[in-house]
Every structure is written in structure tokens, then in C-alpha cells.
Symmetry: C2
Subunit: 273 residues, 2 copies
């Protein structure tokens, strides 16, 4: 069986227990001037998940995109900063070439997800069944877009000649999954938490220079729960609070079967507009 | 002039350019089993802000609370992981005693906040003027609570004998400021982004074992804008999406004068209930 493109894009070489491993950018997950941030985030997470000392499920993932990763190989340093009885704190750093400076840093918290009081306050927005929503055609020059199936219900990016006045809503609601479909796990969920077009693009109706600087994803389900989800699409809700002084934010909710909130994400991005 | 308690609590010793500095926990900002997370976060941020190589304003702050910090001294390692033309990526790590294991790790992104397109989508909730809202009496046994002036409009913590059924809303709306008042800056804003009681406490009407594991704050204003705010209270909106399998989240909005969104925060916390 051929591995899924996401597994090829996030593959690491070298001893999983070593303090340094190697990985490669993927032409299949390429965006404006570097790899799709979601695949970089997923690679950082995978480095932790594959480490033989890792215990528990990922709970929190923060990725700082320090500089564009050049096409080709990069080094992945993985360090367990703290091990507790039921949680671990991991640090990951990507470097490239001869440089000592990081191109990406990340922190990952893993934890035992024991049964407890359980209550979800966030309600999945009303959304038609995914089979009823047409798939967005993807004639994008950005290869990563073709690695996902997008079915927009609200907030499809629409470019316009004149800037919309007032600015358009940054909110989007859509069904999202890997293309081809792939069973959901933390690697794909991490990548999907970045698989939303820059909110600013739809606000302005154009695509100015833009890049995510930092992103944080919280996982609200355990491994067995993701496994039960299978390869059905997730309902994704993306929005933004503010664009100001060259930076803007994004908030993301990803819902699985029966409206279960599987992950939430935030990010802050640079723009020039 | 006596320094403000927050400045005493977040003070660092040693050469600001050195790779390691020293700091001390503060009895004035103490919570259940360690320092108030907001003061630890603010200390990590201060270590970056005071570094002579630092350029730009803080944009993103992620703090991972790895283990309770014991009362007393701790070491603060500060490293510039990447310097770009208009942004920097910093890593901070607290260690204590003879241990090599971290008690706290943090990442801080700083950036030049240039003029740009500006639009705020998040609207400050309707809230009465702060002078009209009574100050919460603070007979708390947790010292950090006394370092803030809380004026609750909605979602004041109410303990109850029986668990509320259905669970109470995790949402709170309040006016918040340092007590005594202190001019707003990034250090105080970082601390305030953690100055909300565990959302779970009001959901369950009781205080089970609980601790923040990871927290991310985005700053949506530049230094000059915070300075103009002065020492007036901020409107704080705190909420939660989900509690499940021993962990729950929190979202925070902090609004300044004229409803300007100054910071947003998320955190994920452990609980046993």
C-alpha cells in the first residue's frame, strides 16, 4: 500500500530516540514561499509522537514559524524538557543548512487522557450534511490546496477588483478532509488546524503578502476517539478577531461526528496591506 | 517611589544579556500550589523584554507550565532562536534547584508593529461603565487574587453544595485591573491574560484539583497604544469550549478604551472531577 501524501510529507529519518533527526520539505504541500505550515506543524508533532519516551496523547501544540524553510532537507531536534507522572513537555526545533538559527520552534504537551467530567459548551454551527455540499474546485497554484477536499458552506474566498467596503467577514464554515481521505489521527488533525486560507484574503478580497508567525492547537479528544472518527470530513469553523498594525489573528474549531469538538486552534499572522 | 507588587514579583537579577538570569517566586502572587501562572508568564516575558538584543513589541507569548515552581529562587534561561529583519523568536526556560528538568518553558515572538490596514471584527460585549460595577470583595486565601480589582458583570464564581444540573455557563464578563492600579504594559497584560478563575469552578460550583498546563496570549496593540491606555480597567471576557477526559480550555478577550481589543488568550488546564 502506498503511504498517504501526508505521511510522506511528514516522514522523519534517523533513530526516533536520537536528539536530532532529518526530514524533507514536500513539493506536494507547498505554499507561497515555503512548505504549508500545517505539514511543518504535523512533522514537529510526529517527531514527538515517534519518540520512544513519549507517553500520552498530544494535548497542546504551539508552532513558531521563524523563517521560510527552504526546499530540501532540515534537521529536527527533539527534547523532553519535563516528564511528569501523567504529562510530558517536549520542545522541537528545526534548523537548516549550516545555520544555527531556527527555522521553526515548537512545544508539545502530551498527557494521559483519563475519564472525567465531560461537557462541551461550544456547539457545532448548523451545517448541511457534507455529501450535500459541492467540493471546491482546486485550480490553485499552491500545491497544498490539492491535498485537501474543501466543501464551503460559508466564507468561500472571493477575490474582487475593488476592496470591499465594509471589509468582508473573516468567517468561514466548511467541511474539510484529506484528499484522498485518510483516517484521522493527531498528525492529520494538526495539519488541518492550519488548512484555512488566510482570513485576511476574504476580508480584503485579495491576497496581500501574508504569513503565519505562530500557531497553537489544542486537542480535545484522545487517540481512541480520533480513531473511531475514521476518515469522514470534519466541520471547520474559522474566524478572526482583529487585523491591526501588520498582524491579524485566526481562530479555528474542528468538529467531528455528532458535533464533537476535536480541536481548537489560534494563530497570528503577518500581513502587508 | 515603591515599585508596584507586579514589578517586584517579576523582577530578574543578573546581566540582562546573559544566557541565564535569576528570579524569585512572590508570596504576593501565590495560588494553590505554586506561583500565580500570570506572574510566571509575565516574568518570562520580562526576561525577553529586558534583553538588550530584543527588538519590536511582543506579539505572541506561549507558556508551558511544566511543574509547580517551588517557593524561592529559579533560573531563567533566555535564547534568541531566530532574528529576522522585523521579527524575533525567543525561547525561555525556568529551572530550579539541582534539576535539569524545566519547571516552565515559553516562547515569545516580538515584531515591529507598523501601520497597516486595521479592522476589528470582535465587538466588546455590552458592559456598564466600570465605576458603576461594585468591586468583588476578596477574602481569598489565594494571595494573587488580592493583587487585582475584579468587577464582575456576569459569571461571578458561585460555589454550591450540589453540582449544578445542567452545568453552569463558563462565561464571565468583568472589569479587571491591577490593585493598586498600574499603567498598562505588556508585562501586566500578559499577567492579566491569566487572571481569570478556572472556568470549571463556576461550571461545577466547586473547586476541584485544577492547573493550567499551557497558555498562549496574542497582543493586538503596540507599546505606544498600551501606554496611551494608562491605568484604567480592562473589560475581560472569559469562556470555555469543552471539558473532556481530564482537560478543559479557556478563551479570553481583553478590551481597552473604546472597546479596542488589546489581547486574546487561550489556555488548556488539567482537572480531576
Amino acid at each position: 500500500m502506498t503511504p498517504h501524501a501526508l505521511d510522506l510529507a511528514t516522514a522523519l529519518e534517523g533513530d526516533p530516540a536520537a536528539p536530532h533527526r532529518r526530514a524533507h520539505t514536500s513539493d506536494a504541500y507547498w505554499t507561497f514561499i515555503g512548505p504549508f505550515g500545517g505539514s511543518s506543524a504535523a512533522t514537529a508533532l510526529r517527531a514527538v509522537l515517534e519518540h520512544p519516551s513519549r507517553e500520552g496523547d498530544p494535548l497542546a501544540l504551539t508552532v513558531n514559524f521563524c523563517a521560510p524553510i527552504a526546499s530540501g532537507e532540515f534537521r529536527v531536534a527533539v527534547r523532553l524538557a519535563r516528564a511528569n507522572r501523567s504529562s510530558q513537555h517536549w520542545l522541537v526545533e528545526f534548523t537548516q543548512g549550516d545555520g544555527a538559527e531556527a527555522v521553526l520552534t515548537a512545544s508539545v504537551v502530551t498527557a494521559a487522557r483519563r475519564e472525567s467530567f465531560s461537557h462541551q459548551f461550544a456547539a457545532m454551527p448548523e451545517i448541511p450534511a457534507w455529501e450535500l455540499v459541492p467540493v471546491m474546485p482546486t485550480p490553485s497554484r499552491l500545491s497544498w490546496v490539492s491535498q485537501y477536499e474543501f466543501r464551503f458552506v460559508e466564507g468561500l474566498l472571493a477575490l474582487s477588483e475593488a476592496p470591499p467596503d465594509p471589509p468582508r467577514s473573516p468567517r468561514s464554515l466548511l467541511w474539510l478532509r484529506d484528499a484522498p481521505a485518510r483516517p484521522l489521527d493527531f498528525v492529520s488533525l494538526a495539519a488541518m488546524s492550519d488548512a484555512f486560507f488566510g482570513r485576511l484574503f476574504q476580508v480584503l478580497g485579495r491576497i496581500p503578502p501574508f504569513g503565519t508567525v505562530s500557531m497553537t492547537t489544542y486537542f480535545h479528544a484522545a487517540a481512541d476517539e480520533l480513531q473511531r472518527h475514521g476518515s469522514a470530513p470534519l466541520a471547520g469553523l474559522a474566524d478572526a478577531n482583529v487585523f491591526h498594525r501588520s498582524f491579524g489573528d485566526q481562530t479555528v474549531h474542528l468538529y467531528g461526528a455528532e458535533g464533537r469538538l476535536l480541536a481548537t486552534g489560534v494563530q497570528v499572522a503577518y500581513f502587508r496591506a
